[in-house]
């Protein structure tokens, strides 16, 4: 039943207009729906709700409820920028909290509007109109209240830095909040023209991020820091191989250890509950579990990759796109090149290991966590607790990194927290994974093999392009399958390979979706994390075969892709592509579009002990209107570091089904001494804003691989770079 319900949620696509009407009905009733009983309590306490997205208190506070969870991508800052562009509160009045519990209000517009969610770099695109409109509506209501109160025309009232003013009369938002709450919300609002913007598009000097201070002083609370009276801590024992289940367990010794409250079996494993993390961890050592692994995945990753390699050379199971006739064109080509690329499983390895806090009291469930999909998690929590979803309140916390790991269709950590709380009589409990739980907990970027083949004519022009992708599907077997997987093609398997900026007369993309018991998931930039590498590294090989400059070679094929060409030209110009480099330095270029954002990067490397040392990365990005330019730069800097660490060093491997890597010694990530100097250049644009959380990631791998080739004459086709195959 749950599955059917989630499928419905995931696939319902109300019209954009329908959604806008919903958001324009900015009534107190919606806020009550949003915050459950809390909103009524606030009204009683003298806090006047203005709209469901914004609450202006008589203490002059402006609280914005974000439809998107903030995992570090800066969407709280972005949404505050949008609201305040219209509202014009003083920046110091504003705070942002996670909203949840009202998909009509918080549904992701880019996903159809029916469910709330953060992902696919949609936060800004989904918020751009909605939060400006709500800021404008709140301002109009404040102004209307002041006009009535003062007996003046609304049009004569000015609003600046949280002060309403008419001649000698002035009032703070807080002073006018209660009266404004009685004003009917406007049905339509007029938004400011771009030329009048004072926050959107302005830099750090104007608008410092308001959570930097809390995060630099240890005051920012994450899920791990949730404080509740009587809060217990639980640690998990998960199956040693994916798909195994608990047959029996012996916790006799653990139960009598200091601080231990209980040891309970839940569907996902065994939980050791104690008064704190240390006591739980210590007692966990004393628990023995017998597992039923009869249905478990016991293959090694090396075996999986060997079978993928063999499959990749055969025709694909399904076709994911065809233009012209590849076979005929290939047969007539002067030269045919081929290459096989291998990509490992990757863990998200966010620094805050996965966690959630749950409590069940009088049939009401509360769950604190980094909820990337709060409506789905609410349904899951309700099912696990045995209540209806309306009895479940989701508290959205800021999250210590995410990179996709907290958007899981089966809500793994939510299930665990609620199941453990239920097993101990509803007492409040934090299920806190340790690093090994997190690293070995699955939900990896799937491993893939790409086989590419291209035919060149005598001028080196690509006249035939074939790409066969082999690997697991992220969406198949989840509630997203029926809405997104078409004719056996999971779009997340082929995005970045299916539609290219290059005008190939003959092109074919095949997909073979494999089955393996290793749970997989979206990992920052999803399909483009492998497709962009395969495509852009192969293009570099073809440019060399054609004897052409890699930038000019691409530009010649991008006549119908002006935004791709735009970022490539800008990056080349800023990097001094045509200028010589000092001895021992080498350049490589790559570009990728992901989530409607266009990114080109040029990496400068030297060779150190046979590996690339990346000194500098010049990046150009076109993400439409640059709402928070400094946050865009920050996300691209971080995306480059995140992607670079992965291609150089990161991989999850399985031995007999067991995940080998358990911590940051085995699963290596980028560190300070490996971070290049990154320069980000933003294309000036008046197009609708698109996301920046993910698109910085895809080009860095191939840009470094292409530079590394110039340095070493070695093509890296098996990732990560430090694999023995590349030595």
């Amino acid at each position: 039943m749950l599955n059917a319900m989630m499928t419905t949620l995931a696939n319902r696509r109300p019209s954009r207009r329908g959604f806008m009407l919903g958001s324009a009905a900015l009534s107190g009733a919606l806020l009550v729906g949003l915050r459950h009983g809390a909103a009524r309590a606030q009204v009683r306490a003298g806090v006047a709700p203005l709209t469901g997205y914004i609450r202006i208190g008589q203490d002059n506070s402006v609280t914005i409820y974000s439809a998107h969870m903030d995992m570090g991508q800066g969407i709280y800052h972005g949404i505050a920028t949008l609201v305040n562009e219209e509202l014009r509160a003083d920046w110091s009045q504003i705070r942002v909290e996670g909203g949840a519990g009202n998909p009509r209000l918080f549904g992701n517009v880019e996903w159809g509007g029916a469910i709330q969610g953060t992902g696919g770099s949609t936060g800004m695109a989904s918020s751009f109109d909605r939060y400006r409109q709500t800021g404008a509506a709140a301002r109009e209501m404040l102004v209307a209240a002041a006009a009535r109160d003062w007996g003046v025309k609304a049009s004569e009232i000015s609003v600046e830095r949280g002060i309403l003013r008419h001649g000698a009369k002035q009032a703070t938002f807080g002073a006018m909040a209660e009266k404004a709450a009685a004003v009917p919300a406007p049905a339509t609002v007029k938004l400011r023209e771009p030329r009048d913007w004072i926050y959107i598009g302005k830099d750090r000097e104007t608008l410092g991020k308001f959570d930097s201070s809390a995060k630099a002083t240890g005051k920012q609370d994450f899920t791990i820091d949730v404080k509740l009276s009587g809060l217990l801590t639980a640690v998990m024992i998960h199956p040693p191989v994916f798909g195994a289940t608990v047959k029996s367990f012996d916790a006799a010794k653990a139960r009598v250890m200091p601080g231990v409250v209980d040891v309970v079996a839940i569907p996902r494993g065994v939980a050791v509950v104690a008064d704190g993390m240390w006591h739980a961890l210590k007692a966990r050592e004393a628990v023995t579990v017998v597992w039923d692994d009869s249905k478990a995945e016991k293959r090694s990753s090396a075996d999986l990759m060997a079978s993928y390699r063999a499959t990749a050379k055969k025709p694909g199971l399904v076709n994911a796109g065809v233009t012209g006739n590849v076979e005929t064109a290939m047969a007539g080509a002067g030269r045919v090149l081929e290459a096989t690329f291998e990509f490992p499983y990757l863990a998200h390895a966010a620094l805050e290991p996965l966690n959630a806090v749950a409590r069940i009291l009088d049939g009401r469930v509360e769950v604190w966590g980094g909820h990337q999909m709060p409506d789905i998690y609410q349904a899951i929590a309700a099912q696990v607790a045995g209540v209806t979803p309306d009895r479940v309140t989701m508290h959205v916390m800021k999250t210590g990194g995410g990179f996709g790991r907290r958007a899981v269709a089966d809500g793994d950590i939510i299930q665990e927290a609620v199941a453990v709380s239920r097993a101990i009589g509803g007492r409040p409990v934090k299920v806190q994974w340790d690093r090994e739980n997190d690293m070995r907990g699955g939900r990896y970027r799937p491993a893939y093999v790409h086989y590419l083949k291209a035919g060149l004519d005598k001028d080196g022009t690509i006249i035939a392009w074939y790409n066969h992708i082999v690997g697991q599907s992220i969406m198949t077997g989840t509630p997203f399958e029926s809405g997104y997987v078409r004719n056996g093609v999971d779009p997340t398997s082929v995005e970045g390979a299916q539609k290219l900026p290059y005008a190939f007369a003959n092109m074919k993309v095949d997909l073979t979706t494999t089955t393996a018991g290793v749970p997989v998931l979206w990992w920052r930039a999803v399909g483009s994390t492998h497709t962009a590498y395969a495509v852009e590294a192969f293009i570099d090989e073809l440019a060399e075969a054609a004897g052409k400059d890699p930038v000019q070679y691409r530009l010649a094929m991008m006549k119908n892709a002006p935004r791709h060409a735009g970022v490539l030209r800008l990056a080349a110009e800023k990097a001094g592509w045509s200028q010589p480099l000092p001895a021992g330095r080498f350049r490589g270029v790559a570009l990728a579009e992901s989530f409607n954002t266009f990114v080109a990067q040029i990496a400068e490397v030297s060779l150190v002990n046979g590996q690339p040392k990346v000194h500098r990365v010049v990046c150009a990005i076109d993400c439409g209107i640059a709402v928070n330019p400094d946050n865009i730069r920050a996300q691209v800097e971080g995306g480059i570091g995140f992607g670079l660490g992965a291609v150089l060093k990161s991989q999850i491997t399985l031995d007999g089904g067991k995940v080998v890597e358990g911590n940051f010694d085995g699963y290596e990530v980028l560190r300070m001494d490996e971070m290049p100097q990154v320069e980000v250049h933003i294309v000036a644009s008046s197009a609708a804003p698109t996301g920046v959380g993910e698109p910085g990631v895809p080009p860095i791998g191939p840009a470094v691989a292409n530079a590394f080739y110039q340095a070493s004459k070695r093509r890296v086709r098996v990732l990560p770079f430090n694999r023995p195959e590349n030595a």
Partner: protein
């Protein structure tokens, strides 16, 4: 009962001697600015100062803390600490922010020993602190900016 000094004040805690300092600080005393990332001294999120030295609190047992002076992010104060925090905020270093307590504690300790760190000094001092958001470029910039403001 183990007695030590925490952020300048005498602190008695009734915990086993093998409890790591990290969990005594977070779960028993309730100061949660210090974060848990790996439990193996591999990530630096739990960095505190013991007798002024940057130390991974997940690998220090309470028995070894007895009689010592411990400083957490909540207690980091003084001219260098102020300069580092100011630079962190002015460059908007944090993204998710989870590692930043450890980064800030490591950066203050670095500047305490070396008022004008070079890039390679920063690499050496800071490479034990993982930032999965890869804010490294701004961390480096903020350390240089703090050093300039202290000069």
């Amino acid at each position: 009962m183990i007695r030590f000094t925490l952020n300048g004040l005498a602190q008695d805690v009734n915990v086993e001697g093998d409890m790591p300092l990290l969990w005594a600080i977070r779960d028993v005393i309730g100061l949660t600015g210090t974060k848990f990332g790996c439990g193996q001294a591999l990530c630096g999120a739990c960095t505190v100062w013991i007798e002024g030295q940057a130390t991974r609190s997940c690998q220090i047992q309470m028995a070894d803390v007895a009689g010592k002076s411990v400083t957490t992010i909540e207690g980091a104060s003084g001219r260098i600490a102020d300069a580092v925090r100011k630079a962190w905020i002015s460059l908007d270093v944090p993204q998710c922010g989870y590692c930043q307590s450890g980064q800030v504690m490591a950066a203050i300790a670095l500047l305490n020993d070396n008022r004008k760190p070079s890039d390679s000094d920063i690499d050496a001092a800071m490479s034990g602190n993982i930032c999965r958001c890869a804010t490294y470029q701004r961390i480096r910039g903020a350390i240089h900016e703090a050093a300039r403001s202290l000069a």
